[in-house]
């Protein structure tokens, strides 16, 4: 029974991991850039939420998500417009990788210097401890809500990309950056919105993860690796694959923690590495 509970909790954690990965997958799918600074932006959004809930202790920290999401969107827009767009068309595929890695180092160290290296967490009071009892299984409300939220967000994103004009423009830009210009689309501007959206999604994941477990300015690397593993495990550019990938990683991590309480992310990393050897194309192969 305890193992069933572990598996279910792993699946719920996986919903959160999928949220970490989806922003990364979106940017990669549209502009072929792996944004290495994604993890640092997530940690920064968690710091913002902590800061805001210290300023307004009477408001629920979960409501802080709204301003943090808005801020993250703006930051993403600017980040793309000022920095990433300058290398996105570089003939050298390594340029965006190196550039975003440089940005991640800057952000990490600025966060350390500004907020200090202490361990932080976001308190949501009763909600984080509340749980449901179904058929003798103990299931946390907060993880359950997170998984539902992740699934809803994935559906919404899928709908937006499939059925709205914005979605069509984004998909067209992802396919042929040079041709969409003929229809009056400015690819750079589309990228700005996509990066904004990506960081907004990352902020949701970042804040919810901060509720679940504590974080430091150095947590960004961990979050990036999880996000990246979710994307690769799920198959590139496949949203539902990302959800599956997240669930697989969440389960691997919690089973690992049951076997060895201080394993951390080791078993999630191992699962990723083994999957890479067996199925380099991911669990689900499809496109945006």
């Amino acid at each position: 029974m305890i193992w069933v509970e572990t598996l279910i909790n792993g699946a719920l954690l996986g919903g959160l991991y999928a949220l970490l990965g989806i922003g990364l997958a979106l940017v990669f799918g549209v502009m072929r850039v792996v944004n290495i600074a994604h993890g640092e932006f997530m940690v920064l959004s968690a710091f913002c939420a902590v800061l805001l809930s210290n300023l307004f202790p009477q408001v629920s920290p979960l409501l802080m998500l709204i301003p943090v999401i808005a801020l993250s969107f703006a930051v993403g827009w600017l980040y793309q417009a000022v920095i990433v767009n300058r290398v996105v068309t570089s003939p050298d595929p390594l340029s965006p990788l190196l550039l975003t890695f440089g940005v991640s180092v800057i952000l990490r160290n600025v966060t350390v210097e500004v907020f200090g290296a202490d361990v932080r967490s976001l308190q949501v009071g009763e909600l984080s401890r509340a749980s449901l009892e179904i058929a003798g299984l103990n299931i946390g409300i907060m993880p359950l809500l997170t998984l539902v939220l992740a699934a809803l967000l994935f559906m919404a994103l899928q709908l937006v990309l499939r059925h709205t004009e914005f979605g069509r423009i984004v998909r067209a830009t992802a396919d042929r950056r040079d041709i969409v210009r003929l229809s009056g689309v400015k690819p750079d501007r589309v990228y700005n919105y996509v990066m904004g959206l990506s960081l907004a999604l990352g902020a949701i994941g970042g804040v919810l993860l901060a509720v679940r477990s504590s974080f430091t300015p150095f947590s960004g690397a961990e979050r990036l690796l999880i996000a990246f593993e979710v994307v690769v495990l799920g198959g590139l550019g496949s949203f539902w694959g990302a959800l599956l990938g997240g669930i697989a990683l969440g389960m691997a991590q919690l089973i690992g923690l049951k076997i060895d309480p201080n394993a951390g992310l080791l078993y999630a990393h191992l699962l990723f590495f083994i999957m890479l050897l067996i199925r380099p194309s991911g669990l689900v192969s499809s496109r945006v």
Binding site: P93, L99, V112, P280
Partner: protein
């Protein structure tokens, strides 16, 4: 040739002139320069960016500490173990990792380093999280320790740069650069892309292993958090990016900027190490945007200076110069 003799004489004589603190700094500089050259061999010449190169530094260093302890000999005599172990590890993991390209390779390397780091912290045989001291440190003659470390680092740096220069002017280097510039075109003229990348990867790992072993031998202590620190990759990358990726002179310039800025910011300006990394990161990002090939290539083109240039002129087209007799000689 003359410049080589001058450099060797400088390195041989420096310990008699410099004080101990400065000598340590110079040793650190030289080791980091070697690591940066090795990272550059992979990124600048083979087109593979590794964000997990710290794993080879750690493998080299742990190999040295363990073998020296087992055999109970002075660490200097077992130094060759470090590059062998690091190179062997690289040769093994190259098989799965080479199926991945670009960013996938980079991050998979990082995940690999994380996995090995996590296992190291769990292994009590190598000291777990708290690390272990160099068991044979009592065999070291401490009167000559700092100078010896400096000579080893200096020798390694000179040999590395000379070997890289030799390699890049050979047909292997030409093949490597052709793969970086256009792998399809390189393949079409018969360059074995995978083979070239494999050699570069193993050499790069071996070099980092040796430099890492020397670095931790100087500390007489090793701990997983320091050995598997992702900042090793950050340093190597920033040095190469700022100085000039894909050039031999670039990392030299990069190391000068790296240490110059560090001594300036943490010394007279009194700033913390964090702000130093922020400053270095900003320089790297600005360089990547303004001069994507780095500072050295931009300077070189402006000033027309050539130091360790491995650039080749295209062969002159044989138009109209072929005399009636000459064409027969060519075909015959």
């Amino acid at each position: 040739m003359a410049s080589t003799i001058v450099l060797v004489a400088l390195i041989a004589g420096a310990p008699f002139v410099l004080n101990e603190g400065f000598l340590r700094l110079a040793t650190e500089c030289l080791l980091l320069l070697t690591m940066a050259q090795m990272w550059n061999l992979l990124a600048g010449y083979a087109g593979l960016v590794s964000l997990g190169h710290q794993v080879f530094i750690a493998f080299g260093a742990y190999a040295l500490f363990l073998t020296s302890g087992w055999l109970e000999v002075t660490p200097i005599w077992v130094l060759p173990v470090a590059p062998l172990v690091a190179g062997a590890v690289a040769a093994i993991i190259a098989f799965p990792l080479f199926r991945l390209r670009d960013a996938y390779f980079s991050i998979a390397m990082w995940v690999f380093a994380e996995i090995i780091g996590a296992f190291t912290m769990k292994s009590q045989e190598v000291g777990g999280t708290s690390g272990m001291p160099l068991a044979t440190s009592k065999l070291i003659n401490f009167d000559w320790f700092e100078p010896t470390m400096f000579w080893l680092a200096g020798g390694l740096t000179l040999v590395t740069i000379a070997a890289l220069y030799k390699m890049m002017t050979s047909s292997f280097g030409l093949g490597l650069m052709s793969v970086r510039d256009n792998d399809l075109a390189a393949m079409s003229v018969g360059v074995d892309v995978r083979h070239n990348r494999f050699i570069a990867f193993v050499l790069s790992a071996a070099g980092c292993g040796l430099a890492g072993a020397l670095s931790f031998m100087g500390n007489l202590f090793i701990a997983p958090l320091a050995a598997f620190d992702v900042n090793w990759s950050v340093y190597m990358m920033f040095i190469v990016i700022i100085g000039g990726i894909g050039t031999l002179e670039g990392p030299i310039l990069g190391v000068i900027i790296f240490f110059g800025l560090r001594e300036l910011m943490t010394g007279p300006l009194g700033l913390s190490g964090g702000w130093y990394l922020v400053g270095l990161g900003i320089i790297a990002v600005v360089v990547m945007i303004v001069a994507p090939r780095g500072i050295w290539p931009a300077l070189r083109d402006r000033l027309g200076v050539r130091l360790l240039d491995v650039h080749r002129a295209a062969p002159r087209p044989a138009t109209a110069t072929i005399l009636p007799g000459a064409s027969e000689r060519v075909t015959g």
